[in-house]
């Protein structure tokens, strides 16, 4: 058991160590990439090693540093955290291969800084997943904000610096609100430790708890809910591996992860229902889902279209939480990995297209599917998945969310889901058509186009394969983990 307690620390320490190593060996590119890959494998190994015990219901707790009475810098590995951590670990490994291919193909500058920041960022993300209390979560959260800044402004153009300022402004101000919420929680209850089913009940008047929730929501601005989403499209200026990472693994998922944690482990579903927070969250989420899709409809830059799609999809998770029902929560939690694998595929393809053709605008991508068939097919598969069509995993969260809406007594949310499904198809399928079936304007310009290098192509295929696998075998391991998490927060027997 002693060994087991070390694993969460190992999972976070390995990438941190790797980041230092990367700085040291930065000049030797192949060794540096080797460090990244090794660290990714090691971290994945550490996370997987903890999986069996988490699946059996154990929670691994490690207290690292006492800080304030009632709030240590501590880690706890539970089922829901494992969902995020597993997604992050697997995708960091695939993204590392992809990033190596991308950075070298584009001959990007400052690669050492890039890999350094990446390693620290993944450590922070996994730290968020394994946080035992709000304080630890906050610390890792802010680390994540700061360390992703150099990644966002990587290309160092004036435009990138401006975008970086916007990025920092939104996220750091959000961090201030999160700190305020954290402090208020501590003042109200004397503790910040996550408790399944919540610990805030009865600790303050309704108004205070509602305001506190709003503070948390603004604090988790990383969830990109409207109207505080502006940092995400701005951050698209980053190199594509960063966008893929930001959008699938680290930053945005950390945001929604935080909100789910608050709902299930700080407030608890009953308290949220009695405070009317479900309705508030449902309103915010519905507004975001629809409006972001409308933005995506007419956006010609592929990465920006995908950014707005991400904003919309993240609010699916918030919508699931707002239903305050078992199926809704399940849908929200399962959408985290499902969306992650599908969205990272889409961004991977966008990056592959940039590498192979230099093109960023959808209207310029006519017919590239003929020269890049596998890549385009993977895009089509992932887009179909996001639209919630079989045989990819998106349909699973769609079903759960629909059931959750009825279960939670909010059938009007079904209309949001219906409208959103139509809008998703409306902005994704034209891209599929343009890439795969449309005839190019100028045949000659496509002669040099071919599939991206294998080191980029294989991760793309793998993420799609995993998405299909999740469709056929959702239980392994995500649904099993989520069942345990739901049982935790609803206080029912673990199945």
């Amino acid at each position: 058991m002693g060994d087991l307690n070390l694993l969460p620390v190992v999972a976070i320490a390995v990438p941190l160590l790797a980041s230092v190593l990367i700085l040291l060996v930065g000049r030797y590119e192949n060794i540096r990439e080797g460090v990244t890959i090794t660290a990714a494998v090691a971290m994945l190994g550490a996370v997987l090693a903890m999986l069996p015990s988490v699946l059996s219901g154990t929670r691994i707790t490690v207290s690292l540093l006492p800080m304030v009475p009632g709030g240590d810098f501590a880690l706890r590995v539970d089922a829901f955290g494992m969902v995020f951590a597993l997604t992050a670990a697997v995708l960091w490994l695939l993204n590392s291969f992809y990033a190596i291919g991308y950075m070298r193909a584009q001959r990007e500058h400052a690669q050492t800084r890039f890999y350094f920041c990446f390693a620290v960022a993944i450590a922070a993300a996994v730290g968020i997943a394994f946080s035992e209390n709000l304080l630890t979560l906050f610390i890792f959260y802010e680390i994540l904000t700061i360390i992703t800044y150099p990644l966002v402004v990587h290309i160092e153009t004036p435009e990138a610096m401006k975008a970086g300022r916007k990025y920092l402004a939104y996220l750091l101000i959000g961090g201030v609100f999160l700190l305020a919420a954290l402090v208020l929680t501590y003042v109200l209850t004397g503790t910040t430790t996550f408790v399944p089913g919540g610990f805030l009940a009865g600790s303050g008047s309704a108004i205070v708890l509602q305001v506190l929730f709003l503070l948390f929501m603004v604090g988790f601005v990383k969830a990109a809910w409207m109207p505080l989403h502006g940092w995400l499209p701005a951050a698209m200026i980053a190199p594509t591996p960063v966008s893929a990472f930001l959008h699938a693994v680290a930053v945005v998922t950390a945001g929604v992860f935080g909100i789910v944690r608050i709902a299930g482990w700080v407030y608890g579903m009953d308290l949220m229902a009695s405070l009317g927070l479900g309705t508030l969250l449902a309103l915010i989420a519905s507004f975001t889902i629809i409006t972001a899709s409308l933005f995506a409809l007419t956006e010609d830059n592929l990465k920006l279209r995908l950014a707005y799609s991400t904003v919309s999809q993240l609010s699916y998770i918030l919508l699931g939480v707002s239903m305050l029902s078992v199926a809704g929560m399940t849908g929200a939690m399962v959408h985290i990995p499902i969306h992650a694998f599908l969205k990272i595929t889409l961004f991977f393809v966008a990056g592959a297209i940039i590498v192979s053709t230099g093109k960023e605008y959808i209207s310029e991508m006519k017919g590239i599917g003929r020269n890049m068939p596998v890549t385009a097919l993977m895009f089509a598969a992932a887009a179909i998945g996001i639209c919630g069509l079989p045989p990819l995993s998106g349909i699973i969260s769609k079903i759960y969310l629909a059931v959750g809406a009825v279960e939670g007594g909010m059938p009007v949310l079904l209309l949001v889901l219906i409208a959103s499904a139509v809008l998703n198809a409306a902005y994704f399928f034209p891209v599929i058509y343009t890439m795969m079936l449309e005839r190019p304007d100028d045949e000659a310009s496509l002669v040099t186009v071919s599939e991206p290098p294998l080191i980029m192509l294989i991760p793309i295929i793998l993420t799609v394969a995993i998405s299909i696998l999740i469709f056929f075998y959702p239980a392994m391991p995500f649904m099993d983990l989520i069942d345990i998490a739901i049982a935790e927060i609803t206080g029912s027997v673990i199945p």
Binding site: A169, G204, S205, I207, V208, P227, G230, T291, L294, F295, L297, T298, A327, I384, C387, G388, L389, P390, P391, I395, K398, I399, Y400, A402, V403, A405, V406, E407, P411, L414, L417, I418, A421, V422, N424, A425, A426, F429, P430, Y433, L437, E438, R439, P495
Partner: protein, 598 residues
């Protein structure tokens, strides 16, 4: 006895398509089709098999077999094979072949599913497969039509999911059976999109004519009939559904009459005939369900036959408008014969399968007031447009001189496919028992009974009189292309315009506002006390100018300008401390207020 859902044969068979080509690919598709048909035929009634646990208490049942499913599965697999034979006349694009095989697989998945969730998953797969078929020609109009098709069917699929979810949470099980409560409307909308209820029908005449020749023949078999089958399976509908069937029959018939494009005419005919099925099923009786199923089988046969014949005509003549066709009976006798058999079956001539099942449907609809007369009127209209189709398309002297290669019958695969289907129409028409013995309720058909014969004769007589009396009916006219989809297209354009123009402006304004606030904050925080002084002085400047004499207000103004010009380097004296006192008082006040509130 094999326990494999037939859908998997087709869905797995797809994987070899991209790697094969030419004749090998055609052989493979036929092999898959034959295998699938054998599998369907060999299934025997089994209790639900192949279950997968989804939600607590909700199981997905991939395979369950009963007489109703056997009838549907049989006809889908059989016509699927016939279309695959038809398709071998040329090398189809990969997307189209994949689409056709996937459609057959998906529809069989819907048929043999034992629970609503599985139905939904295969339903969505069917929409995707049909989209592939529609997009294959890659023409500008097929792109647009496919896009509209997709949006329609995603909308319908999501409504269906919503309805299913309602039922599942209300009853605690996903078993297929009558629904009620909140989910009913949503489910009807969802099924109605596929079944082409009015006003959710416009995708049929929009998309089907724009697919390729093979594509149309394939499309007409699956989507609409899958919906009819699901309606029959679920059952327990009220008279509203029955009347919807009547509306569909009449609307489809009238619009079919108004068409010039032959495939558009046939598309509206799909809606019209679908109306008979929906009306019979909506009538609610066992005989009604049987009638709906029987007419589904008949319609699949003669409609696909007609689409195949239309495809042959388009292939050889290059023309798809009745106004440009004519005189084909001499040059393309086989095609004409097949078209005649299909048309007369559609029209309800006793001796062909259409009459048999149409009679059953009209009889079952008799239980609902005013429904049978609606259907009979639609039958008369059907004869009218059938006449136009045959006369204007095949039998009248060709208008003008036709250019291009001399006309002849289509390639052998087409003729084989059409011939087999025509034969089936005749056989089932002369020996209705072959089909009715398989029907779940055991209802019989009496096309040759006196009542049935009189009905048929009456319909043809009335139609004949109308044709003789109303001359324009015998002449070509420009087709009516306006249907209520103008409203939907308008709405779609409005949404797109909204996101492109006003939404962008609002977002830009908000963004700009936030940026200006940020810039303003940045400026203020450079020297806050002076900034507040400037703000205060600017606010009171008008008052000063009003109440003080000019020289003193002038000095005030100069002081203000000095502060502004030298901002943020201006130092200020402790006068600024007054503002600090004000701040502290405000905060203390708030603290006490909140303390009371807390």
């Amino acid at each position: 006895m094999i326990d494999i859902p037939p859908a998997f044969v087709y869905l797995l068979g797809i994987f070899l398509i991209p790697v094969l080509s030419g004749q090998v690919r055609k052989v493979w598709t036929l092999l898959v089709g034959v295998l699938g048909l054998f599998l369907v035929a060999s299934l025997q009634s089994v209790a639900p098999a192949l279950t997968i646990g989804l939600l607590p208490g909700i199981d997905m049942v991939l395979l369950t077999v009963d007489p109703m499913r056997q009838v549907a599965g049989g006809i889908f697999a059989l016509s699927g094979l016939i279309v695959l034979i038809y398709a071998t006349y040329r090398d189809l694009p990969t997307a189209e072949t994949v689409g056709i095989l996937a459609s057959i697989g998906a529809v069989l998945g819907v048929v043999y599913a034992g629970d609503l969730i599985t139905v939904f998953i295969f339903w969505e797969a069917l929409a995707l497969a049909s989209l592939l078929i529609i997009w294959s020609p890659r023409s500008a109009e097929s792109v647009a039509a496919g896009y509209r098709y997709l949006l329609y069917h995603i909308f319908g699929g999501s409504c269906l999911l919503a309805g299913i979810v309602y039922t599942v949470t209300a009853t605690g099980s996903a078993a297929i059976g009558p629904v009620g409560g909140g989910g009913l409307l949503l489910m009807l909308v969802g099924i109605g999109v596929n079944a082409a209820f009015f006003p959710l029908h416009t995708w049929v005449p929009d998309a089907y004519p724009k697919a390729s020749i093979v594509g149309s023949a394939a499309l007409c078999i699956f989507t609409t009939k899958a919906a009819v089958f699901l309606l029959a399976e679920i059952g327990g509908w009220g008279v509203t559904v029955a009347y919807m069937g009547g509306v569909m029959a009449l609307y489809g018939g009238v619009y079919a009459l108004m068409q010039d494009d032959i495939r558009r005419l046939l598309s509206y005919s799909i809606i019209s005939q679908g109306g008979y099925m929906v009306a019979a099923i909506g009538a609610g009786s066992v005989a009604g369900i049987d009638a709906g199923l029987a007419h589904m089988v008949s319609d699949i046969l003669f409609k696909s036959l007609l689409f195949m014949a239309a495809g042959a005509v388009i292939l050889r003549t290059g023309s798809h408008r009745l106004s440009g066709l004519g005189g084909l009976w001499k040059a393309m006798p086989v095609t004409t014969l097949c078209a005649v058999i299909g048309s007369l079956s559609l029209a309800g001539l006793p001796g062909l399968n259409g009459a048999m099942s149409k009679g059953m449907a009209i009889e079952a609809a008799g239980a609902v007031p005013y429904l049978s007369p609606l259907l009979l009127v639609s039958s008369v209209i059907t004869v009218l447009y059938v006449y136009r189709f045959l006369y204007l398309g095949f039998f009248r002297p060709a208008p003008g001189v036709r250019e291009g290669p001399p006309l002849r019958d289509p390639p052998v695969p087409m003729m084989v496919a059409m011939g087999v289907t025509a034969l089936l129409c005749i056989v089932l028409g002369l020996f209705p028992g072959i089909l009715t013995d398989l029907l779940p309720g055991g209802t019989g058909a009496h096309p040759f009974a006196l009542a049935g014969l009189i009905e048929s004769v009456a319909i043809f007589a009335v139609a004949g009189v109308l044709l003789l009396a109303v001359r324009p009916l015998r002449q070509p006219w420009p087709g009516a292309t306006i249907d209520i989809d103008v409203l939907y297209i308008g709405a779609g354009r409005a949404v797109t315009w909204f996101s492109a123009v006003p939404l962008m402006h609002i977002a830009g304004a908000i963004d700009h506002g936030i940026e200006r606030t940020a810039v303003c904050l940045k400026r203020v925080t450079a020297n806050p006390t002076v900034a507040i002084q400037i703000a205060g002085k600017s606010a009171t400047l008008p008052l000063m100018q009003a109440f003080l004499d000019p020289s003193r207000s002038q000095a005030y103004e100069e002081e203000l300008s000095y502060l502004r010009d030298h901002y943020p380097d201006v130092q200020t004296d402790i006068w600024g401390g007054g503002y600090g006192l004000i701040f502290i008082s405000i905060i203390a006040f708030l603290y006490f207020i909140l303390d009371v509130v807390w």
